[in-house]
Amino acid sequence: MSVAFSVNGRHVRVDVSGSTRLLDALREDLRLTGTKEGCGEGECGACSVLIDGEVVNSCLIAAGQVEGCDVTTVEGLATNGALSLLQRAFIDHGAAQCGICTPGMLLAAHVLLQRTRRPNADDVREALAGNLCRCTGYTKIIEAVMSCTR
């Protein structure tokens, strides 16, 4: 089956079977390995991507379901090689350790910052509730996101 969609503003076409996960189409077929697989069961949020601007777990999406959709992965956050404000904030605050959760954290936080003008720390915690981090204890991640709201 051939599926045509857009990834980070670029039109792509992949040939996959019906049960291929969007996660695998991105990583294996399109070589966009910024998206990580954590649990593979929709619990951890490591594979978060945006479909038409909404955050989803790409391990739970059949590739066929994104026909005609706009998909954004972590590779789409930078502009012409320049990191976004949020990405820069993660570096400055030491908000990444092993890094597996980071792409998903960035995308979930990106949606929050796009949608909410002045989120408070509780808004940030709620927006990131579906993204699990085993290293940082979350504080630095929340500080990084909050630094982009000022």
Partner: protein, 266 residues
């Protein structure tokens, strides 16, 4: 690679036709449960095709009619949370939707999927029972208290698709979920309660989401203490990885008392 055919019908009638004529076909909506099982190959019999209902416009939306709210089977929990009609008339359903997973799951999970999976821990299912919701399918309507027939078993025929869920407008329902953590937790116990009419619906305490009928009779007489006592005998909880039968009994009684107090104060 295990080959599964992906089918994308353009209408509900085409979907019903494909479902009827494709052997080993499983309906797919948001994929929050099915994709996990499909990938892990834990479904028996293993599906040979998935029927993608996610993008069917007929299955989307929250609609207000003269005497009901109708929610499309493939509308997302996020769509329900954002709906002003749902916020006004079905606040307990909105509260339940907000406790399901986190944004990633709320953006894809659907009422139709929660119903079709019929997990005893499905968080919207006690809410549907407490509201006396009606399940609308491609061919008939099914009263929610006749929908669940056993462990993950429903009254749906083998080729029948859920199209919508219909709710009355005049109910006051309170909802509470008890899990290990506020987000991303499967319920240890989940409850929805209405006083008039007396409805006490509970999940994760039996092999299916159930109505606590003895407790409801006591509540119908206005006897809250008797309802709280009786509910412990209405449920059939087990010890499992998430909780124990003893804890589930205690928390069921405590939350029932708390929800009835809250409804009395409103």
């Amino acid at each position: 690679m295990h080959a599964v055919t992906y089918l994308r019908p353009k209408s509900v009638s085409e979907a019903v036709q494909l479902y009827r004529t494709t052997p080993g076909c499983r309906p797919l909506a948001g994929g929050t449960d099915l994709m996990v099982m499909l990938h892990a190959r834990t479904l028996r019999p293993e599906p040979r095709a998935v029927l993608d209902l996610w993008s069917l416009a007929e299955l989307k939306g929250v609609r207000r009619t003269a005497d009901s709210i109708e929610i499309g089977a493939a509308e997302s929990y996020t769509g329900i949370i954002r709906s002003t009609a749902a916020q006004e008339f079905l606040p307990a359903l909105v509260a339940a939707a907000r406790t399901i997973g986190a944004a990633q799951i709320q953006n894809r999970g659907t009422l139709g999927g929660n119903l079709a999976n019929a997990s005893p821990a499905g968080d919207t299912l006690p809410v549907l029972l407490a509201y006396d919701a009606t399940v609308v399918t491609d061919r008939r309507t099914i009263a929610i208290d006749r929908f669940f027939t056993g462990y993950r078993k429903t009254a749906l025929e083998s080729d029948e698709l859920i199209t919508a869920v219909r709710f009355p407008l005049d109910r006051r329902v309170a909802f509470r979920k008890v899990g290990t953590r506020a987000a991303q937790a499967i319920s240890k116990m989940v409850m929805a309660v209405s006083v008039t009419p007396a409805r006490i619906a509970i999940g994760s305490v039996a092999e299916l989401p159930l109505r606590a009928t003895r407790a409801e009779r006591a509540l119908g007489r206005g006897d809250v203490a008797a309802a709280v006592a009786a509910v412990a005998d209405d449920i059939r909880p087990i010890d499992d990885v998430r909780s124990t039968a003893a804890y589930r009994r205690a928390v069921t009684q405590n939350i029932l008392r708390e929800l009835l107090d809250a409804l009395a104060r409103r």
